[in-house]
């Protein structure tokens, strides 16, 4: 096959722009998870939050006809599930890993139920897509332009939000409190930083991000909803946080690397209709997971766990004793 079809300048631009776009939902969820984990809570409910966000945003966009409101709805339901996670993990202090799994199970059941209930028997419902907007000037920058500045509005919103969260972590007092409660809760508490409050907020942010991810997936890309539309993106996002050593910027990078391999495998198939028939398609399918797995393992093996928040996964109990 002709690799220039994949990595040639023009091809590469297209390849990149699609991978950036398709990685966005995962990226948003991953950045959200980074906030939660830096605050010391491992949120495995991400997949469920993504899925619920997708459905909620789709429903509102479908019935109200407003992408903006739809997006908000997606965020809202995400925040709601974030609250549930916080209630279980922070207020009740139950095993975080288990809480997360429970949330995923609930979300999957409810979404299938609701969707079938509402649209069963009718045509596959769709919502209007949103047009790409070329950012004046910027989009004409060769290479970068087409990749980053010829996307739809939700994409720009997502980028803004994702970067916003990075700033939230690095340039605000809240961000400082987050690292503090994730690193040594007792010290934070002694300095009048409420561990419970900070972790609650972190989880609300996390849920909101995942919900937004769902909205972007459905409203920004597919314009249709179907059961299990999130397709494991939430799980990947969690892996990406470790992959990115709990640094939101690295995590973003990781998300786009994942998106890239995914786009790449589909593209390589397309370019060489031939390969697909000889090489099993499953190998392409496995590529993104394999890459994530390997890089994640490598990251842990080399960097060790020192980047990991010391109190990750540990519920905080105030020491009340003499």
């Amino acid at each position: 096959m002709d690799w220039s079809e994949v990595f040639g300048p023009d091809a590469l631009v297209v390849l990149l722009s699609t991978s950036v776009a398709f990685a966005m939902p995962t990226a948003l969820a991953a950045v959200g998870e980074t906030v939660a984990e830096r605050a010391g809570v491992l949120n495995l409910g991400l997949e469920g939050m993504l899925l619920s966000g997708a459905l909620a945003s789709f429903l509102v966009a479908y019935y109200v006809g407003s992408v903006a409101l739809g997006t908000l709805a997606g965020v809202a339901i995400g925040v709601g599930l974030g609250a549930l996670m916080a209630f279980l993990s922070v207020t009740l202090k139950t095993e975080q890993i288990i809480n997360g799994i429970a949330i995923v199970l609930v979300a999957q059941g409810i979404t299938i139920f609701a969707f079938e209930k509402l649209f069963g028997g009718g045509d596959q419902p769709t919502v209007a897509g949103i047009p790409d907007i070329d950012v004046p000037l910027l989009h004409s920058i060769p290479g970068v332009g087409p990749v980053l500045f010829e996307q739809n509005a939700l994409f720009y919103v997502s980028v803004a939000v994702a970067l916003g969260v990075c700033l939230l972590l690095f340039r605000t007092r809240f961000g400082l409190s987050v690292s503090a409660v994730g690193e040594s809760p007792a010290a934070a508490e002694a300095m009048a930083v409420s561990v419970a409050r900070t972790r609650w907020l972190a989880l609300l942010v996390c849920g909101g991000m995942a919900g937004l991810g769902g909205a972007v997936l459905v409203l920004g890309q597919l314009n249709v909803f179907e059961e299990d539309v999130s397709g494991g993106r939430g799980w990947i996002a969690i892996a990406l946080v470790i992959f990115g050593r709990w640094n939101p910027l690295f995590v973003l990078g990781g998300a786009f690397l994942f998106g890239f391999t995914d786009a790449l495998q589909i593209r390589v198939q397309a370019v060489s209709g031939g390969i697909a028939s000889t090489v099993p398609t499953e190998i392409f399918g496995a590529l993104p997971y394999a890459v994530t797995l390997i890089v994640m393992v490598a990251a842990t093996v080399w960097a060790g766990r020192d980047a990991q928040p010391a109190a990750l996964g540990v519920p905080f109990r105030k020491e009340v004793s003499a």
Partner: protein, 526 residues
């Protein structure tokens, strides 16, 4: 003179424990006030209520004549109360400046230049009170003394006029202590009111303007150093005449010690090098050996490598270089399981993290390191009946205060938990014992018990390595004594040559060996 703080009949109960039973306490502007008492006397609890960590059940707190209702430290801080906790409340991964602004409420943003201003302010305070620290340094890079200065600095930065220090000298070298108090005095001279919690009589007598003594949650009295003596204070603290600790070890004949030294060493340590948790060098070329029937004390101040040494000796941390050998066989690579089998025992420094499992019963905890071995059954079946039987015996022998073998270990007091650990460790066939901070946080009664047990074990011919930050403990238990400073063994004396002055100085790095160039290089690294 009108008191800046006055606390009236403060009472606080935790579950079954009445931590404070109506304590009065007042603090005057410009004074240094010592709060003296045994562990569990309620000193810290009293100050925590003043710092707003939790409200008292009963009683009133007035500051500058106004009555206060503190719901959180934030409220207290707002009223100019600052507290330096014994276990520093600093976030190791953050910088000094970041730790200072933590919990501040002015505005959501925290830009680089905000931090710059903070750093400037801190620097200014620092050289005003001679508390030199670099505001941009990350806390985990700082020595214990520096971290304490950061705590004080932070309190001042937050505008503290009333400064509480919890056991400030517990983790300091004698030198650092010498430096600390003049600085406090300077603060007081500027009108700050200072409380320091301690159970070290020397500090009290040499530095306090007034002393309040607590015992079992009640105030025994408040007096001036001039009006009292160490003996009297001790009696007030303990409520009876304190037996002089030296006796315990002193009972042993010097002859016995010499004969012990002639025997072949059980534990041999050669040139250990190891890193701490943060990857910084913690042990530098540590070598020593211990013979049967002797206690080798390795004295040192926190942050100089004792925990790392403890872990390396027991196989919980791998050294870069160097060897550990037990009865001549090299065990450097062996894991705790193998070392246990070879007769090495450990009394861990953190008894709740490594010593007991709170969720398991006392009986189970007593058998923890012999699960699957006779007499507790085989790898296929545990013999719980035997477990309970032996537990009952050990509970009797080590007089552990429990309702029964089934009680959960998590419910034991510090003293009882330590008795449990000793009971478990000493009830197996041992060749060598590593006792790390065996009496940390225990009250006098428990301390005596632990020391007697160790001495008895030594007299039975056990080789013991005692890692301790407590000078009294070292002086009364050691047959031989080394001092570990910045990860190096810097001094070494037989019992006959031990004296408080020397050891104290060496612990602070000021011994004759401490002046060697190699060490100044070392200090450069940390």
């Amino acid at each position: 003179m009108k008191p800046s703080v006055s606390m009236k009949s403060i009472a606080k109960r935790f579950g079954a424990v009445q931590a404070l039973a109506g304590v009065d306490f007042d603090l005057r502007p410009g004074e240094i006030h010592a709060l003296l008492g045994e562990n569990g006397a309620g000193k810290t609890t009293l100050m925590n209520t003043l710092y707003g960590m939790f409200p008292p059940d009963v009683g009133t707190i007035t500051i500058d004549g106004r009555e206060m209702q503190f719901h959180s430290p934030q409220d207290a801080i707002a009223e100019g109360v600052g507290m330096v906790h014994q276990h520093f409340m600093l976030v190791p991964t953050l910088t000094v400046a970041e730790n200072a602004v933590l919990g501040e409420r002015n505005g959501p943003l925290l830009r680089k230049r905000d931090l710059a201003t903070v750093s400037a302010r801190l620097a200014e305070l620092a050289d005003r009170y001679g508390l030199d620290v670099d505001p941009r340094a990350r806390v985990w890079q700082l020595s214990v003394g520096e971290q304490q200065r950061v705590e004080v600095l932070r309190a001042l930065y937050k505008g503290a006029r009333i400064l509480i220090l919890d056991e400030p000298t517990a983790t300091l070298t004698p030198l650092e202590t010498e430096r600390l108090f003049p600085k406090l005095r300077a603060l007081a001279a500027e009108g700050a009111s200072i409380v320091f919690i301690t159970h070290h009589l020397e500090d009290v007598i040499s530095w306090a303007d007034r002393i309040t003594v607590l015992r079992r949650g009640e105030r025994v009295g408040t007096l001036r150093p001039s009006e009292s003596s160490a003996g009297e204070l001790a009696r007030m603290m303990v409520g009876r005449d304190v037996r002089l600790m030296q006796v315990v070890a002193g009972e042993r004949s010097v002859a016995g010690t010499r004969e012990a030294r002639r025997a072949a060493p059980v534990l041999n340590v050669e040139g250990l090098q190891s890193d701490g948790d943060r990857g910084t060098p913690a042990l530098r070329d540590v070598s020593f050996s211990v013979a049967p029937g002797e206690i080798l004390a390795i004295a040192g101040v926190e942050g100089n490598g004792q925990p790392e040494l403890e872990e390396v000796l027991f196989g919980l941390r791998a050294p870069h270089t160097g060897t550990v050998s037990l009865d001549g066989s090299d065990v450097t690579g062996a894991d705790p399981a193998q070392r246990l089998r070879l007769g090495l025992g450990l009394v861990p420094s953190n008894r709740y993290r490594r010593g007991v499992i709170r969720e398991l019963s006392v009986a189970e905890n007593l058998a923890l390191d012999r699960i699957g071995e006779a007499p507790f059954g085989s790898e296929l079946r545990m013999n719980r009946r035997e477990m309970v039987r032996q537990a009952e015996e050990l509970i009797r022998r080590f007089s552990i205060q429990v309702s029964g073998p089934d009680q959960l270990a998590g419910t034991l007091s510090g003293g009882n938990a330590q008795r449990l650990v000793l009971a478990r460790v000493l009830s197996r066939e041992l060749r060598c014992l590593i006792a790390a901070q065996p009496t940390r946080g225990l009250d006098v009664g428990a301390i005596e018990f632990v020391w007697e047990q160790l001495a008895a074990a030594r007299d039975r011919g056990l080789a013991i390595v005692l890692l301790s930050t407590d000078l009294d403990e070292v002086l009364s238990m050691a047959d031989r004594c080394c001092v570990i400073y910045r990860g190096r063994l810097v001094a070494h004396w037989p019992r006959e040559e031990l004296d408080r002055e020397r050891v104290g100085l060496a612990m602070g790095g000021a011994s004759e060996t401490a002046a060697t160039p190699s060490l100044s290089v070392a200090s450069g690294e940390t």
